[in-house]
Symmetry: C2
Subunit: 653 residues, 2 copies
């Protein structure tokens, strides 16, 4: 085992979250995140009781100032320390006011790793944080590890006295100039319009002749426009910056459009997978809980990367007193709570649930401390944001969709507490009471649906709350049928216009067996973006409006993100429902493969699961399924066929 850099548990995430949330730049102005982003503990102690049988030399490297203490003796960092026979504590004091305090111990048997504990001079020793990505002494964890790949523009055209470079698809890259005859300004654009509109573009950077060889932060773009230069006056290299994480999922079929949708979804998520799951790569590049929540689902079917999920959950959870909702949004606190159980379902990682539970409780208790007179989660002051979706929801007073998420959060909280053996009867009581009240206050017999708000008297129905009711099982029997008929399949109820909520809608559709309908919707909606030339999926899309007319958002001419993580949902829908792979117990200890591939002549797909891969092929009428792990069951035409590790199962469809 290699040594690993160790830090105070959670502080790697706090540190990189602070850095990340200070990178948004528009019109030369740094625009920090609009919520509290906590930092690291500047002074940390690392400690381990060692048992030395044979004298051994160690060397401690630290990112910061301080010393190593053994008994009463203090040792310098970077010098050889001889450990004598015996059993005793080695304590490392590291302080750093400008970076992440962390340490690295090299020895024959004494190495820094997860076996160490840390405190921040508060006397409460907890297990350290560390990562298998940081085993190299020379790669200090206050640098986040990205990889770089040189990319080339597909096309270069002279336009309006300048040069427009088209890289063929959305990317996120560093520009390094090789030839620069004068000071220039570079306009980045996700669309050609944005790049060329030097008046309204807010994603520009000035580069001076003296900046040659400087290393600039990467930017999001497909197009780059440099005004006032001749065709060959400027030369540069572009380096795609990305997280080195493997795309374990794959999908190829006889349906070309669906293949494209899957691939563009994969690119969209890859671009947004960095220190954490981002919302979009151009505009804020912040970590938003609701956006991340969907990325977790897609991640399961693409990267199956557990680390980025944990990193994102930890960063969003923050530290210290909970004084506001996550991202200031009520729904986003709830998604955050919910995500912990989903992570558990994905990984079976009970240790993380235990580690994060105190924070989960703090966030839940904060939510419970801010209920309105009816006990509903509501906007309690100007700082509270009821988001739900970019849609015309009646947000008067307590909003129904919010209560659905609140109820689901309580359930998830109780499940986690149960698993950890933590008493939770108070929460159970609140859960039951809330469910009763939701039905009492929000269910409209007249509409045969849940209404947005009972306080406005408008009895407005939108899809959102009703989608959640289906998804979380809060409408059974007649209510369920009524919702399907009166809302989901009712064209008079306003359509969803974000991929974000399309995801939940289609997830709900699939969950009620409407898989074909849902996939056709995917082809229509996401296919609509592809047809409009999307190389990554967008933040917002209305198929009925020319895409060029919808680039503005948030008061900015090109405010809309054209590479938004919540656009990657089709990978989940395809993997979960067409390929039919899902865990039936935590960490895929048992799992199900229930393909619904009737629409295809040909499919060749891979779906990652915990520590494994499910391969699914369909050729004509022959379906072939293989997994490299035990625990799976193939369900086909109501037959259950046990899948054995590395043994292919072929059936005639």
């Amino acid at each position: 085992m290699n040594s690993k850099w160790i830090w105070y548990y959670g502080d790697f995430e706090m540190y990189h979250s602070q850095k990340l949330h200070l990178r948004r730049k528009e019109r030369n102005v740094v625009f920090p995140a609009i919520w509290y982003v906590p930092g690291v503990y500047s002074g940390v102690r690392f400690r381990k009781k060692v048992k030395i049988d044979r004298e051994e030399d160690i060397c401690v490297t630290a990112n910061g100032v301080g010393f190593v203490q053994i008994g009463a003796v203090k040792y310098e960092f970077g010098k050889k320390i001889t450990l004598h026979k015996g059993e005793y504590f080695v304590t490392i004091n590291v302080s750093n006011m400008t970076g992440l305090p962390c340490a690295y111990v090299e020895g024959d048997t004494v190495k820094s790793n997860e076996e160490w504990t840390a405190d921040y001079y508060n006397g409460k020793w907890k297990k350290v944080g560390c990562s298998s990505s940081y085993t190299d002494k020379n790669v200090v964890p206050d640098t986040f590890i990205f990889k770089y790949k040189k990319i080339l523009p597909l096309e270069k055209t002279v336009q309006k006295g300048g040069v427009l470079y088209d890289f063929g698809k959305e990317t996120f890259a560093r520009i390094v100039f090789k030839k620069l005859s004068k000071n220039i300004t570079v306009f980045f654009g996700e669309s050609e319009y944005e790049a060329l509109d030097t008046k309204n573009n807010c994603q520009y950077e000035a580069f001076g002749v003296e900046d040659i060889d400087k290393n600039f932060e990467a930017k999001a773009f497909r197009y780059i426009y440099i005004p006032d230069i001749g065709e060959n006056e400027v030369d540069f290299d572009a380096y795609y910056e990305y997280l080195p994480v493997e795309k374990k999922g794959a999908f190829e079929s006889s349906d070309d459009m669906l293949n494209k949708i899957w691939n563009v979804s994969a690119d969209t998520l890859e671009l947004n997978s960095r220190e954490f799951f981002l919302d979009g790569i151009k505009r804020d590049r912040w970590v938003w809980s609701g956006d991340s929540y969907q990325s977790y689902f897609v991640n399961r079917y693409l990267f199956f990367d557990e680390d980025i999920v944990r990193r994102t959950i930890i960063a969003l959870g923050g530290k210290g007193e909970v004084e506001q909702h996550i991202n200031t949004i009520l729904d986003y606190s709830f998604y955050w709570i919910m995500s912990i159980y989903d992570y558990y379902e994905m990984t079976g990682d009970m240790e993380f649930v235990a580690d994060i539970f105190p924070r989960m409780k703090a966030v839940m208790d904060f939510c419970l401390s801010r209920l309105d007179k009816n006990g509903f989660a509501s906007k309690m002051d100007a700082g509270d944001w009821i988001f739900i979706d970019w849609a015309d929801i009646d947000k008067t007073g307590a909003v129904c969709a919010e209560q659905m998420l609140f109820l689901r959060s309580l359930e998830v909280f109780i499940k986690c507490a149960d698993m950890l053996g933590i008493e939770n009867s108070d929460y159970l009581f609140k859960r039951d009471d809330l469910e009763k009240k939701i039905n009492e206050y929000y269910w409209s017999d007249e509409k045969g649906a849940f209404i947005d708000s009972f306080e406005s008297g408008k009895n407005n129905v939108t899809r959102h709350a009703n989608i959640f009711a289906l998804l979380f099982g809060y409408a059974e029997g007649e209510k369920r049928e009524a919702i399907i008929k009166n809302v989901i399949l009712n064209d008079d109820v306003a359509q969803i216009t974000t991929p974000y909520f399309k995801f939940y809608e289609l997830d709900a559709m699939c969950s009620i067996g409407q898989i074909e309908y849902a996939i056709n919707e995917v082809e229509d909606y996401w296919g609509g973006m592809i047809k409009a030339g999307a190389t990554s999926f967008w933040e917002w899309f209305d198929p009925n409006v020319p895409w060029q007319d919808t680039l503005a958002m948030y008061g900015d001419e090109y405010g809309k993100s054209l590479c938004h993580a919540w656009g990657a949902g089709p990978i989940y829908l395809i993997g979960r429902y067409l390929l039919g792979v899902r865990p039936t117990s935590a960490g895929y200890k048992t799992f199900e493969v229930k393909p619904e591939l009737g629409r295809f002549d040909f499919v060749e797909a891979k779906v990652p699961i915990k520590d494994g891969i499910v391969s699914i092929k369909k050729n004509g009428r022959v379906l072939e399924v293989m997994t490299d792990r035990d625990g799976g069951v193939l369900i086909y035409n109501s037959n259950n066929i046990v899948l054995h590790k590395n043994k292919s199962v072929s059936i005639e469809a």
Copy 2:
């Protein structure tokens, strides 16, 4: 009015406290404070509603990245912004991960100052922090303002193949080399022994030839020894680094020794008055609440600097969840609570009491959350430190002196809550109960004194708890007389061996009218240090042991501090009891001058009070008192003479 730099209230103190607590260096190793030292909020918003009658240009300078927001428009820092007529918010977003986020606004009417509010993106807007010391745009508050004065060694002697420089008295200075022929190591010493003992000295610095002109951090020393150099091989300048704060108090009398004691006390406190009140300047240079508490008293009679008291109280109070006692010491939490009322008595500054009260409550509630089964403040885990004094106190279980401080803290807390109109009946109940229990458990009729511990069964009596009982009025009538007889005036009870507790002992003696006795003790004890050559007062002194044999402490050959703030107490004792100046209402709205100068033929003294000075002269039998403020009363031979502003009163003594 000039503009002032503004920051999140308290964060100036957190920032400089973190920096300060990372400056201790011994044997090339940085030794951070052994308690949690919180940092700043990295992202802060400053806001003010402005009313602009006539268009005005402003410019915002910030220490960090971010922008100025007015309405929906974002402006860059450092550029002219035109404010149009109207009433609206100006908001400044500043983020800084490596320094103190702060801002400076210049305009005709719109200026940054105490009228602005700030939050850390938590939505709770509070008044900003600012200081009249930071009005210059070019002096950013993450640099603390010190002054420098060139000082020269008095003597230079060749010793053991090197050169010893004697600066004549204790100082704190930067060394800047002017001539350096080779790499050298410089050994700093408060004593000659320490400087010359290159084996055991741990206050050394290596200076390379390439370090010429480098600016090094100042060090504490009287002596400097550089081995292996010829007499003129090395040349350097030394610059005394100090806080620019005026010594308003003065004392000159016909008693030469007392004059010396006063002056050396003044030097001792001056050297320890920096960002905050330090314990000592050589060794840890940390901020310790019990040590600072005494500095506050001496400060009243020397600098009367309110800023350093507030800074120290804020820094010690910290922020966030209270997880440990201040400096990890129970008594030090109590002194901290007590100091807030003393500050109020000194300044009448109710606003600060209101500002700090939430923290005061958090610290008090923390103390209350850690009581033993009898309701006493006791060591609850390994992290709790019962200090009281460097003395042989029986610390078995709950210690009496701790309970005295606890009781006093409850009283002070209740007083402050009362002044602020905050309900406190719970605390009042606890106070009364505690007083009762102290008498029940700790008073020994047999000893006629309070015992240290009731749990050990040893009935050990030390001076400490009994001194507090006298000082705080917890022993009335017979008990009081018993303590005076059985403890204070009883030579069989071990003498105090620190100036720290000598201070409380003599304060108690004076408070029972034994002023002559106390001043004779000052002459003996502090005079003993002067006779031993002290140029600043020491951390520990036993007149019965040769001083050269007592330089070791904390396991280090020269661990003992020879310039320790708690040595400066005589200034308080002289000012408070000999010169007899004290406030009789908060902020010296009314005050008393009750000189007891019988022992002197001649006195010429100044005692600072809030916004003023009391001048006291005695020449032969003529006593002359003058103040530059109204509110004073001269008490002499049981006569009360009203002191009028700038009108001298002469009386025949």
